[in-house]
Symmetry: C2
Subunit: 201 residues, 2 copies
Amino acid sequence: MADGIKLIISGPSGAGKGTVIARLIERLEALSEAYYLSISMTTRYMREGETDGVSYYFTDKAKFEALLAQKGLLEHNVYNGEYYGTPAAPAEEAFAAGKIVLFDIDINGGRQIRERYPDAVTCFLIPPAFSQLEKRLRGRGTESEDKIRHRIDIARGEYAAAADYDYVIVNDTIDDAVEEILAVVMAERCRMCRRKPLLSI
Amino acid sequence: MADGIKLIISGPSGAGKGTVIARLIERLEALSEAYYLSISMTTRYMREGETDGVSYYFTDKAKFEALLAQKGLLEHNVYNGEYYGTPAAPAEEAFAAGKIVLFDIDINGGRQIRERYPDAVTCFLIPPAFSQLEKRLRGRGTESEDKIRHRIDIARGEYAAAADYDYVIVNDTIDDAVEEILAVVMAERCRMCRRKPLLSI
């Protein structure tokens, strides 16, 4: 059994995180690497087309708060009056089974998870140049100018706050970004903190 | 131009360091990665078949001591009354040119280089089990029992002293060990300490 790795991937809106994570998962499957993609829990209503346990774990406020009280959430926040959080149990089970546990999460969530798991590995995904974020956001053609400016302001804050992340992954091409993440996983497995037992003779 | 990386590879006698480094260099060449393998300087006599600037840089004691006085050596030691050391200038030139600078060096030398270059990346190469070191040393069939025991004692000390190395590379198969080292190089290039400038917007 390989050693489990907790891998946090964050990045500003427009960095291409969703696409990179989807490709990463394809590559992990091709490499026969066991992984688990963490699924968030929320109290918001289930939209059409969503499935409980796939898009999110859907729950009610009482249950969410009970889980929070017993430290069953790795991180949480409130958005539009609804709770969002990352349940600890599935992630811990996957890690114990030697899986790569992927957290696709914003930088605040990433920091909360890191506090709980100091051995988590953190990657911040960015486009080759900041100006490309704006281009990509505008290129979607689905959002108002105000919304785009707001996203860019948030991205600026995320860049400033990402300094405590371990790695910066540059999404020049999707394949290059995925290869960098795979190298990080492989290298992290070799780190002294994980392989020190091999030196006990 | 890629970013230079200073890569220190140490490991006990019998771990297969020479073979792994030779294969690593083949792979770096296949990947068109620019590298420089650091060459030691020594005051011992040049043996038949050796070439100055290939096996070693050969010099005399006065010149070695002058270089030492002007901090022109990254590490040095004395063996059988002769000096051995790693000249700084070729390594620094290669690093400035964006090359992967490889130091094939024992653990004491590695520690001295790390003091001088805190950004150096350190890898400790070991066989999958300590017992295999003994097997490999005996398998050579060229050394006395006393010499083999002495080497094993030294290896024990090295395992204990390697705790401050960054990575442990397991020489299960040569190819696996080389892939681990290549992943370390790729991941280290992505580390926040090296890519922080990309977050300045």
